[in-house]
Amino acid sequence: MPTVTIDDIQVEVEQGATILDAANKAGVWIPTLCHHPAVTPQATCRICMVELDRGEWKQLVTACNYPVRRDITVSVSGDNAVKARRGVMEFMLARAPDNEQLKAIAGRMGVDSTPWPTVTVAQRDCILCGLCTAVCDEVLGLAAIGFSGRGVDRAVAAPFRQAPDDCIACGACQAVCPVGTIQLRLHEDTDEIEISPFKARAKLRKCEQCGARVVSEPTAAEALKNVNVDWEKIRNLAKLCPKCRRIRAAESLAATASGTPTKEMTR
């Protein structure tokens, strides 16, 4: 296994692991934003840049997607690497000057403000890392949202900037957004969930037993598509919230133990 020397700490990692993996193993913190284990490395945000020692020369590389193939020496806390990452952070702060998540990471990196003029309110907060579009495409296979425009007009948007047809309002984009720009809005009056700012809306499934809101209806339907066995029991369990589902399963188990077949089992 190749050895990675990070700031004088030596760790062994699997062939093909990334510098970020090695850093995690070594206990060295490298800031990340566009990195998420659920998707392939995006390497779009550039906040994880480190300096790779190539002997005669040194090179800045993104730690999140640089594969370790042989023994390498990497500097995370060296002047060049720190300067590069701070420079990137200053640009990002210009896009999201009031973002608490970003400010927290910036603080940890020793950046407290940006020298650059901030962007217009309409473009504010999104750092264009592409994690939301990647999760929608790679994990959900929907690609309901994508990038639009280019240069200063680049933005994440649904096609034609309308409520996306392909969106199932699963909320994965919200879950992965590193700066909390994508948000879920609950519409109490209509029992709908809205993914902001994409204007996507869907009815929420309510637990048949206790009435708790579970997931959006299209998400439940999409998940059931992946269940290959056509078993009514599963479809019935899917109508419950996780808590009621556990209670139902426990009851069923207890009944099995005592030998009395329940209604559930005879179906």
Partner: protein
């Protein structure tokens, strides 16, 4: 141009066939679609995406990335305003603002009634005539805000010009 009787689906099929359904030829396909329709209509883009088994968001990303693709129909007339340095100093900025507010049009967009497409450009090489506004290829020089608005207000709302031009 294909005949107008060609249905939307036939048009899409035809365009896809031209490139053997190769998804790598998406841009040429979209260019052909724009040539046929004058712009990229949303329904046609959705249909194309469906047939190529690509997400609509991918086509939208391509359509918005390249400035030569347009998602709204071209207006009846084409209005180009020079906002190069000289024209700008001579008041082209104010003319642009006036056009945008009176006709509810954005730079690069088309008026809601489809009367004209408005495109501000950087220098048309006629600085001596500044500020310059070009309407359907006709140069108007030294225009003031009032003069420019007057020209646009009197634009014929029907396609008389081009048809007459075609006949002559």
């Amino acid at each position: 141009m294909t005949e107008k009787t060609t249905t939307r689906d036939e048009l899409i099929e035809d365009i896809i066939d031209r490139y053997d359904g190769e998804t790598g030829m998406l841009i040429p396909m979209m260019q052909d679609l724009q040539t046929e329709c004058g712009y990229l209509p949303a329904d046609e883009l959705r249909r194309l995406a469906e047939r190529l088994d690509l997400p609509v968001s991918r086509l939208y990303a391509v359509a918005t990335f390249y400035s030569s693709f347009r998602l709204a129909p071209k207006g009846l007339h084409e209005v180009t305003l020079c906002i190069g340095t000289v024209c700008y100093l001579k008041g082209a900025g104010r003319i642009s603002e006036a056009i945008c507010s009176e006709f509810q049009v954005e730079p690069g967009g088309t008026t809601p009634d489809g009367l004209f497409s408005y495109l501000p450009v950087n220098c048309v090489g006629a600085c001596a005539l500044a500020p310059v506004m070009i309407v359907d290829g006709e140069y108007h020089d030294g225009v003031s805000v009032d003069a420019a608005m007057e020209i646009l207000r009197t634009l014929p709302a029907e396609e008389i010009d081009s048809e007459q031009e075609a006949q002559t």
